[in-house]
């Protein structure tokens, strides 16, 4: 969403980050009930979601504060390579 906002609306990176966070709210709120209230067992594990939230709230705070000094470029490249490996794994042996 962020590259799209930067390219199409000409927003700066910081403003695009903030805007995408606002825009995801209606998107996630609309999608969750569809996953939860499907026929059969719900496709939402509420317990796992709660513990993920606890971790990610703390992580986001630390990430924004403590990790400011981390070399972003290298971290991005490392995460992208890891993501490509996970993606290939999901395509080949899901």
């Amino acid at each position: 969403m962020i590259p799209l906002l930067v390219l199409w609306t000409g927003l700066g990176q910081r403003q695009a980050n903030a805007t995408s966070l606002v825009a995801i709210i209606p998107i996630a709120i609309a999608a969750v009930p569809i996953y939860y209230f499907r026929q059969g067992a719900p496709d939402v594990d509420v317990r796992v979601a709660i513990f993920l939230i606890i971790g990610s709230m703390v992580g986001a705070y630390l990430g924004a504060r403590v990790l400011k000094r981390i070399p972003e470029r290298q971290l991005r490249i490392g995460v992208a390579v890891l993501m490509i490996l996970v993606g290939i794994k999901q395509v080949l042996v899901p």
Partner: protein, 136 residues
């Protein structure tokens, strides 16, 4: 609290750290943690990830709106369009077979990774101020 709960907190911590530090979405980290790490079915991973994103985005998004960081007009357009897309996408996702959905997600994931790589390698502005806010 079980071991799985502790691992979920650790997974959330990693997702939060990465989104805070380099601005990649929480969902991009949540879903593979759930499928590869927890061996959860793809549809359940996507539904659970979306549920975990709601409170995070509410807190972060409302804060940004109050501080005037977000473009309200762009958020309305993207959020409105995304809302329609999300309803359609979610209906398709819950009807797709989980293994096929995992493969589709894999292709999307590689594309997202290439975009991230491009931002790191090509765009000089990417290093300046993108670390401020986590995005799902």
């Amino acid at each position: 609290m079980t071991l799985a709960d502790v691992l979920a907190v650790a997974g959330g911590l990693v997702a939060g750290l990465l989104s805070g530090a380099i601005g990649i979405g929480g969902g991009l980290v949540f879903v593979p943690i759930l499928t590869v790490g927890f061996r959860v079915a793809q549809t359940v991973a996507q539904g659970t990830s979306l549920a975990a994103i709601v409170p995070t985005a509410l807190v972060g998004g409302v804060t940004h709106l109050r501080q005037g960081n977000a473009s309200v007009q762009a958020a309305l357009w993207v959020g409105g369009g995304g809302l329609v897309g999300a309803i359609g996408g979610a209906i398709i996702a819950i009807h797709l077979e989980s293994l096929l959905l995992a493969r589709v997600f894999g292709v999307f994931y590689i594309a997202a990774a290439l975009l991230l790589l491009q931002r790191a390698l090509v765009d000089p502005k990417a290093h300046q101020d993108s670390s401020a806010t986590p995005t799902p």
